[in-house]
Symmetry: C2
Subunit: 196 residues, 2 copies
DNA sequence: ACGTTTATTGATTGACGAGTCAATTAAAAC
DNA sequence: GTTTTAATTGACTCGTCAATCAATAAACGT
């Protein structure tokens, strides 16, 4: 059946399969065979295109970070004021496309993966730096630097924390609820200065 | 060498070894043999006392949750006002005894473990319920119920998030810094009502 | 037509790891 | 002093799984 030009199709099928499989098992213990089966190919083919399981994970991670980055960038173009930019980032983080079980399980997975794999750690660092930078620049125009730094750390942590909570299925929040918590933080914690 | 009364000693040695080993590898992929070696016994003995790897993990988790619970309880006895109770919980969470690499790695581990293991999930639920209950009752006396619920979610998420961040070693914060971020949230987000 | 490249897999290898078991030791009990 | 009983382990079993390889087959270029 070898039709030519299969590589990109198979690669993305395998990446999607990886994310779904992680979500389904809620765990890192997914085998290459499981991923391959879900993608409709043999495990040998997965190795053929990616070389190793770690690289499959890295590709899946890159994919998720890319999706998230696009969502944030998309939300930011419409935002004008610093406050709107903060809200855009928050809303993008909990948009229906991102805030889904598989995505959340995958995120948790990647946090763990980042502990062993240098490649994974680097990817996550890039994401974190961008997020923090975005938040900080917005806060910086609403509060003095000291406070902006604190608020950046707090908001970034709260976003991550709300994700983790969701992974546990203990107290499942809707995306809207999470957004409400975060906006409440933003709006109440800013000094009495510049609005919008 | 069989001296009688070894069981509790071996059990706690294995539990400590588990936590240390997880911290050292920064990962869930620890083998029973590694744990046993660190505890100075054979892997067979670990199985003898715990039955399975999952139960070893569960015991380690219980141990950590117990330590944390004790830290919180200890901090709470001196706290009188709601505000002091909130600060006590926050400080207990980032006390030197808790906020250490091995502990943090172990926590992240357990979050993942909770995705597959019912026992692990139950343990985490208990911890979360207690934490949320403590926070909520304190907030309840400082704000109306609606707001108290939001603040509880926000603070719990921020605590978890700051832990996760630490696990990544990307932007290592001192415990004091984390506490500062959290207290800033508490103090700025409460309504203009009852102080202390 | 024909050799080359791309796609694809079944079968295999090699390692590793959880859990079992029978055997050993020495204290404890009687 | 003999018999339980607790502690302890080396050796073994049985799976699983990542990674490799040789083989097949279809498209492509010439």
């Amino acid at each position: 059946m070898p039709k030519i030009g299969m590589e990109p199709i198979r690669r993305s099928a395998l990446v999607e399969a990886t994310i779904h499989e992680i979500g389904a098992r809620g765990s890192l213990d997914v085998t290459v065979s499981q991923i391959a089966r879900r993608a409709g190919v043999s495990s040998a083919l997965a190795h053929h295109y990616f070389g190793s399981k770690e690289q499959i994970f890295a590709a899946a991670m890159r994919h998720i970070l890319t999706l998230y980055g696009a969502e944030v960038r998309g939300a930011l173009i419409m935002a004008k004021t610093p406050r709107q930019r903060l809200e855009a980032i928050v809303r993008a983080s909990f948009a229906p496309g991102q805030f889904r079980d598989e995505m959340i399980a995958a995120w948790l997975n990647f946090y763990v993966q980042a502990q062993k794999s240098d490649a994974a750690r680097r990817l996550l660092h890039v994401y974190q730096r961008r997020l923090r930078s975005n938040l900080f620049h917005a806060f910086r125009r609403l509060a003095p630097a000291d406070e902006a730094r604190i608020l950046t750390r707090g908001l970034a942590a709260m976003i991550d924390g709300l994700y983790i909570r969701q992974a546990l299925h203990s107290a499942p929040l809707s995306g809207e609820t999470a957004i409400g918590v975060l906006l409440h933080y933003i709006d109440t914690s800013l000094p009495e200065g510049a609005p919008t």
